[in-house]
């Protein structure tokens, strides 16, 4: 017998409908539903996904780059659920399975513009080894002016590259 049960509809915490709107990983299936009885889990997961993955908001990086970063982190962390969700998304974006296998084996060969390539490379390093990054790693990206943080006026729209 499994430790977690799939909850009945009436046991699902409020907020899961919002998740269906924002979710990037397979919405309302598997791991999401097992946490559904707990509003303290559902709320931060929905907020974090909407705020940090930003599937519905403009980002300074492309959707392809974000989903590829998600896939290579999932691959490195051996998370089958996240890996499958990212592969499904990338397949819909037109990437072939063998090409994605090649990217997982060698993430340095990404079919992305240089700036997007840098995003994926650093997202992977940040996710897997944040304590190994040194101030010089940030300094080395300074010539790429667009990677430097900028303080926008609060009413200014997000900058798209």
């Amino acid at each position: 017998m499994a430790f977690f049960d799939i909850p009945r509809d009436e046991d699902i915490a409020p907020g899961l409908d919002e998740l269906k709107r924002v979710a990037v990983s397979t919405p309302c299936c598997g791991d999401w539903v097992t946490h559904a009885p707990s509003p303290q889990i559902v709320k931060p997961r929905v907020t974090v996904e909407a705020s940090l993955f930003r599937p519905s908001d403009p980002s300074v990086f492309s959707w392809e780059a974000r989903v590829i970063a998600f896939m290579v982190v999932a691959h490195a962390r051996r998370c089958d659920g996240c890996f499958g969700a990212s592969r499904g998304r990338l397949t819909k974006l037109g990437f072939a399975e063998p090409a994605l296998d090649g990217l997982c084996a060698n993430p340095s060969v990404l079919p992305l513009a240089e700036r997007e390539h840098v995003f994926v490379t650093y997202a992977l390093r940040i996710a897997t080894n944040p304590s190994e990054l040194q101030p010089r790693d940030f300094a080395s990206s300074k010539p790429r002016a667009s990677l430097r943080p900028t303080y926008r006026r609060p009413d200014a729209p997000p900058t798209l590259s």
């Binding site: 499994a2 430790f3 977690f4 049960d5 097992t34 946490h35 009885p37 707990s38 303290q40 889990i41 709320k43 931060p44 907020t47 974090v48 705020s51 940090l52 930003r54 908001d57 962390r77 051996r78 998370c79 940040i126 996710a127 944040p130 304590s131 990054l133 040194q134 101030p135 010089r136 790693d137 940030f138 300094a139 990206s141 300074k142 430097r148 943080p149 900028t150 303080y151 926008r152 006026r153 609060p154």
Partner: protein, 183 residues
């Protein structure tokens, strides 16, 4: 020159001010740490940080199934394993405020099996550490063992959320502190 700058007061967007105020209220502090001020230009990141802290770290909700001591020990041990000096320092300060001395805490970091906690709280710390560091190596039989130790599915959900928060927080804190300093 550091890569991240700390913002001047007048450059903090209202949306970020809102989340900084929420963070002060949540932690009961008057000064926001630099590791959070580093994110004021991206209020949506502050929103994610504060929402995760409020719900998963649970310091104010009164809804946690585990003691504050157990949560602080788990946070310290994950920070130690992840080499996040910011999180490690704040957890140590929290534990010292609870009456633990530095030498005892050093001993616990070196040997996390000897925790001055009841068995159920020790199980919380032990599993949070595993979930945070080796989630992919946890097997269905480990959940059966948790059940045999009296942990319910809701207990384990809280442990998973807590472990996820510790990992999430170490990334934001480690990198903000690195990017705020020059070599």
């Amino acid at each position: 020159m550091a890569f991240f700058d700390l913002p001047k007061e007048e450059n903090i967007p209202p949306a970020a001010s809102h989340w900084l105020d929420e963070l002060k209220r949540l932690r009961g502090i008057t000064t926001v740490p630099e590791s959070r001020l580093a994110y004021v230009s991206t209020p949506w990141i502050l929103e994610a940080q504060v929402t995760a802290e409020a719900n998963l770290f649970n310091q104010r909700s009164g809804r946690s199934r585990f003691s504050w001591e157990a949560r602080m020990f788990a946070f310290m041990l994950v920070a130690h394993a992840r080499r996040c000096t910011g999180c490690f320092g704040s957890s140590r300060r929290g534990l010292i405020a609870l009456g633990f001395d530095e030498a005892a805490l050093d001993g616990i970091c070196a040997n996390p099996v000897a925790l001055p906690l009841p068995e159920r709280e020790q199980a919380f710390v032990r599993y949070v550490l595993r979930f945070a560091l080796d989630a992919m190596d946890v097997r269905p039989k480990d959940f059966r063992e948790m059940g045999a130790q009296g942990l319910t599915p809701d207990d384990v959900r809280e442990m998973i959320g807590f472990a996820a928060f510790c990992m999430f927080n170490t990334i934001f804190t480690t990198l903000a502190n690195t990017a705020l300093h020059d070599e």
